[in-house]
């Protein structure tokens, strides 16, 4: 990934505005069938608890690689035990109008659910191809504990951020994971075949260093965006990445770092076999977030401050995606307005407006979105249908 930090700071105004123009669901969660024309950049979804607001955002999130914003299993997403589901969207995409579809069907024989992605009705080789047209970012209440919760959640969050500016990252991370699991298995089986272990460790080193560098690249770019941004009600965050490879490990030529990681993997076979896992590597990375103005770890900030930091981060990332990819991302913001006072809410709406992105906002109370007025398409959802 070649990166121009000054480009990242440029106004996102030049980015191609990407938006969904139509959404169709079949047998997805509590939606038997939904057809929705999307007319604007603000899409507001209101409805009671359990109406299907988050479900709808989840459906949209399946127009990107991965298992969507709940990271759920496909069978769980099929309505009431249906043998599959479909999410289709018309998109004013980064490369012009395009029809994107994710369909999941149970195999007639094995019963296992398989996903197929279609782009303009043509099957895609991998879901990564969706990123050529649409990049989606989300913030959900499930992410509220991100700063205090397990490192794995922060790593996944970080990798999602990387993926939206570097589409190869998903594949890289998945391959690394597979290589690591292969090595763990060999060690657990007491494999004495050094060459086999070396072959796998070479893969881990190559993929792992690429992964660590991409993460570092992203944190650097985000820092530049945060530095350049005006002050808003959403406090600035400082990101400190620990690569999982030991500090300063990333300041050498890539080939040297790969050699070093390969060596250290070879040396730690015995310890890793005893531990039953790989003790060191980029799979152990963590992202520390700090409240810049207060010079305080985000984990020690108040619940409200943590939420505000997270919103600030997502907005900064949205502007990064716009400036790097030349096209705006789509934001899915679940139950975000309820936590904010009227002033912060209005400020959030204006910031989103300024980014030029399409956003989907949910809430139980339509009054939360009053400040949007006619800027938004206001929709009411009731038990999986549009009211």
């Amino acid at each position: 990934m070649v990166v121009d930090e000054t480009a990242a700071q440029d106004n996102a105004g030049a980015a191609v505005p990407v938006r969904l123009t139509e959404l169709r669901l079949v047998d997805f969660r509590n939606y038997a069938g939904l057809r929705l024309d999307l007319t604007g950049r603000f899409v507001v979804l209101c409805g009671e608890n359990g109406a299907g607001k988050t479900n709808l955002l989840e459906a949209v999130s399946l127009l990107s690689p991965g298992r969507g914003l709940r990271r759920a299993a496909y069978p769980e997403m099929a309505r009431g035990g249906a043998s599959g589901f479909a999410v289709r969207a018309g998109v004013e995409g980064a490369a012009g109008p395009v029809a994107l579809a994710t369909t999941v069907r149970a195999d007639a024989e094995t019963g296992s659910f398989a996903r197929q992605v279609k782009i303009d009705e043509t099957p895609a080789r991998t879901a990564d191809e969706l990123l050529d047209h649409l990049r989606i970012l989300w913030l959900t209440p499930a992410m509220d504990g991100l700063f205090t919760g397990p490192a794995g959640d922060r790593r996944r969050f970080l990798d999602r951020l990387v993926l939206t500016i570097d589409p190869a990252h998903g594949r890289r991370a998945a391959d690394y994971e597979r290589a690591m699991r292969s090595r763990n298995r060999l060690l657990a089986d007491g494999c004495r075949d050094e060459r086999w272990l070396e072959g796998i460790e070479a893969q881990m080193a190559e993929l792992g260093i690429a992964m660590a560098l991409a993460r570092r690249e992203l944190t650097g770019l985000l820092r530049a965006i945060v530095d350049a941004a005006d002050d808003t009600p959403f406090p600035k965050a400082d990101l400190v990445l620990s690569s999982g490879l030991g500090e300063d490990a990333l300041d050498r030529p890539a080939a040297d770092m790969e050699d070093a990681l390969r060596l250290s993997l070879a040396r730690s076979r015995f310890a890793d076999a005893a531990a039953g896992r790989s003790l060191e590597g980029p799979h152990r990375a963590d992202l520390a977030v700090f409240h810049r103005a207060k010079a305080m770890p985000a984990a020690l900030s108040s619940t409200g401050e943590q939420k505000a930091l997270l919103i600030g981060l997502i907005l900064a990332h949205a502007s990064l995606v716009s400036s790097m990819g030349g096209a705006t991302p789509v934001l899915l913001l679940d139950e975000i307005a309820a936590h904010l006072d009227a002033g912060r809410r209005a400020a959030l709406f204006d910031l989103i407006d300024g980014l030029g992105v399409q956003s989907f906002l949910t809430g139980t109370d339509p009054n939360l979105f009053e400040a949007l007025g006619s800027r938004a398409q206001h929709l009411t959802i009731r038990s999986g249908t549009l009211a």
Partner: protein, 201 residues
């Protein structure tokens, strides 16, 4: 359970055909119907051809290819350049490369890739035979045409290690083969181009 609509002999035929790639239960039923309707023109010759194949199909002891003779048609083909050996994971890859008329060379079929997660080790593959074949002399270039997956690349690494110090040039397919790409799915033009612009390792 749905009620059977035909006798067990026909049901069995449907079940077996449905196991073929590209045929679900539905198309298997259609195919079976065609076969039984055209018993003399289709079913009998097919049964005979299958019976012959059962008797004659074998794995080539030189290269691991599947054919009805050993050495296989490719190994026995004197018009090929046997000093160049293309290492592939599976017979399907060999067929794909042949379809693309990529190179007029010989092959070595590994019979899979090293995969701890699927319990496939070096002994399950034809790596030892490959090393013996190279040690036997006469091979100048080995082209590692394995898939760009973790397992494929690990296997390539393993083979290179085994051949270290031997007098053979080892190359691999040029980039342009997508990451994670499986040869079998590539179009013929891409395959042939990747084969022409291979790089030394």
């Amino acid at each position: 359970m749905a009620k059977s609509i035909a006798g067990p002999e026909i049901e069995r035929l449907i079940q077996l055909l449905a196991k073929l790639p590209g045929l679900g239960p539905r198309s298997a039923r259609r195919a079976t119907l065609q076969l039984v309707k055209r018993r003399e023109q289709l079913l009998a010759p097919l049964a005979a051809a299958m019976a012959t194949a059962v008797e004659t199909v074998k794995v080539c002891s030189t290269c691991g290819n599947i054919d009805t003779r050993d050495p296989c048609t490719i190994c026995a083909d004197a018009s090929r350049d046997h000093s160049v050996v293309i290492v592939v994971e599976d017979v399907a890859d060999l067929w794909a490369l042949e379809r693309a008329k990529a190179l007029n060379a010989a092959y070595h079929v590994l019979g899979g890739v090293l995969s701890p997660l699927e319990g496939i080790g070096p002994d399950e593959l034809t790596i030892r035979q490959l090393v013996e074949r190279i040690a036997g002399g006469g091979v100048k270039e080995l082209i590692l045409a394995v898939n760009a997956t973790v397992e494929g690349q690990t296997t390539a690494h393993y083979i290179m290690d085994q051949l270290a110090g031997m007098d053979v040039r080892i190359t691999r397919l040029a980039h342009g083969v997508p990451v994670g790409g499986e040869l079998d799915y590539l179009d013929e033009g891409t395959l042939a181009a990747a084969m022409r612009s291979r790089t030394a390792m």
